[in-house]
């Protein structure tokens, strides 16, 4: 009997995939080049408030000359962000596991989680400063951790519970217990959602660390550096520090995105269209 063999969807040759990636990114690269050129041209040509918005060439120069201070400040702040991210995400994922297992708890606590998410967490920076001391990295780490907590909790919980009923029926037909169902169905199903949460959290952690500095922080920190330079109208130095903060944030996000790609090759989002 001839079997019903249908060719599976092809993934494309390596060359074709690389080419496709490049064309995807071409417009963004073009905008970048255009943007920088425009910025430089306008600021120099029209002599626009140079003190507020320095030309990119000067910022680049300052990035080089101040690279030691900027690098150590960046590293100091990144430690705060990363530590907070680690703590906040782990506690959030653990909470999500508990809430997914005992649903009555989650329905009871949901309004509070939603309300807590609407609180301006950053306003608690002065309090954590009073707890751990303004110069201590822990005070900013706590802020970053709390900022990461809710997005990761919500996303993880969603992933754990958005399992199709038939998959649960299937597992029950195998006489599977709750633990097995978690292990084999809920957790793998939740991975894409978890990564979404983790990526969002990287941005929030960086913001928490840097903005937290504004209420008081060590001179070694990037946020304080930005504030200090802006305070003495050294805007080129301030912008250079801002660029460093941005780049760190993007790199953090990208690192998590790469881990996601590596662990989830099976997911629709990484298939060819």
């Amino acid at each position: 009997m001839t079997s019903t063999v249908v060719e599976p969807i092809p993934r494309g040759t390596l060359g074709r995939r690389v080419g496709r990636e490049l064309t995807d990114w071409a417009p963004a690269a073009a905008v970048f080049v255009l943007g920088i050129a425009l910025w430089e041209g306008l600021v120099r040509g029209l002599n626009i408030q140079e003190f507020l918005l320095p030309p990119p060439s000067e910022i680049l120069q300052t990035l080089w000359t101040e690279r030691d201070t900027l690098w150590s400040a960046g590293w100091f702040t990144f430690q705060e962000a990363f530590g907070g991210w680690l703590i906040g995400c782990s506690v959030a994922m653990l909470t999500a596991l508990v809430l997914a297992r005992w649903r009555t708890l989650s329905t009871a606590l949901m309004p509070f989680a939603i309300a807590a998410n609407a609180i301006p967490i950053i306003a608690f920076a002065p309090i954590t400063n009073n707890w751990f001391g303004a110069l201590n990295q822990s005070s900013k780490m706590v802020i970053a951790a709390v900022l990461c907590y809710f997005p990761v909790l919500v996303n993880t919980l969603r992933g754990l519970t958005s399992v199709r009923p038939q998959q649960i029926e299937l597992m029950r037909s195998y006489a599977a217990g709750e633990v097995e169902i978690f292990r084999r169905v809920r957790i793998p199903n939740a991975l894409p959602y978890i990564f979404t949460g983790l990526k969002v959290a990287t941005v929030l952690a960086m913001i928490g660390a840097i903005v937290g500095d504004w209420f008081g922080g060590s001179l070694d920190a990037l946020g304080v550096e930005i504030q200090r330079q802006a305070g003495v109208f050294a805007f080129t130095e301030a912008w250079a520090a801002i660029v460093v903060a941005s780049v760190l944030g993007i790199a953090f996000y990208a690192a998590v995105a790469i881990v996601e790609r590596l662990t989830m090759g099976w997911h629709p989002s990484s298939r060819t269209e």
């Binding site: 417009p27 408030q49 998959q167 941005v203 504004w214």
Partner: protein
């Protein structure tokens, strides 16, 4: 129906009471056992009693001055105004940007990375520049704060508008095309309605973000009248009266929650959504 509401309210009160008990319980535990985490100790200064915090609201904010709660109420209203303007500004810009991007894949690929990257630039850093620049142009200080608030608001609205508009059922679009409907008609009759759930999800995030932006934005602008100023002010008195700062944070939290609830109520009225299928 009334029974269900009563049950939910009861559940809410129960959990609230449990959380308060947990707080006080932790405080008692920390103080009796001398629990510490690095330099963090548990005492009346680091973790005041809840009744003390609430009680502080009804004390004068300074000698012979108005009650704390009056001061904070005015500050909250001030910040709320900044946040509301910021929300309106940010949401409109975000929506418009989302509509534009939804209609051009080229623009999407070109601009989206920068829109995402814009959020990694800590607003606080550019806030002083924004304040100085706008002040020079004759805008009142509080408006600069609204601009900063709008900066935090536009991003989730843009992203979700884009997602929502492009998530329209392809078959509904085919139907519209068979009626030779123009792009404008398709936008308002099909894409926007199907984007509403996404929009409201963004508005909920944006509501909180606009309040955060307003509070934080007041700091570089050195505005005294809002909650940001109040936080800085009472931070200075933390050693003597820690409960004042905690009370301020409580009011700030309530402001954020209120903004959020307003969006939730509007959503209930506007959108009727099918429940998610969960197991």
């Amino acid at each position: 129906m009334a029974g269900m509401v009563a049950k939910r309210v009861g559940m809410f009160a129960l959990v609230l009471a449990a959380l308060c008990a947990f707080w006080e319980g932790f405080k008692w535990f920390g103080e009796t056992t001398g629990f510490a985490l690095g330099s963090f100790e548990v005492n009346d200064r680091t973790l005041p009693h809840i009744h003390d915090i609430i009680g502080q609201l009804f004390e004068p904010s300074r000698t012979n001055g108005p009650l704390l709660i009056e001061v904070l109420w005015d500050a909250a209203l001030f910040t709320a105004k900044e946040a509301a303007v910021g929300f309106a500004l940010g949401a409109s810009i975000g929506f418009a940007l989302g509509v534009v991007l939804a209609h051009s894949r080229l623009l999407q690929r070109g601009l989206l990375p920068y829109i995402v990257a814009s959020q990694t630039v800590p607003i606080l850093a550019i806030a002083p520049m924004v304040v100085v620049w706008m002040g020079g142009r004759g805008f009142p200080d509080w408006f600069s704060v609204s601009v900063i608030s709008a900066y935090l608001t536009f991003f989730p609205v843009t992203i979700n508008t884009l997602r929502g508009l492009t998530s329209a059922d392809p078959r509904a679009l085919e139907l519209m095309n068979s009626y030779a409907a123009g792009k404008w008609a398709i936008l308002w009759k099909v894409r926007v309605p199907s984007a509403l759930p996404y929009l409201f999800a963004a508005f909920k995030i944006a509501a909180t973000a606009s309040v955060v932006g307003a509070i934080i934005g007041e700091l570089p602008a050195s505005i005294q009248d809002g909650l940001g100023g109040a936080i800085l002010n009472f931070n200075q008195y933390y050693a003597t009266t820690p409960t004042s700062l905690w009370a301020t944070n409580l009011i700030a939290a309530l402001l954020g929650i209120t903004f959020f609830l307003i969006v939730v109520v509007v959503e209930r009225i506007v959108v009727h959504r099918a429940p998610e299928h969960v197991a």
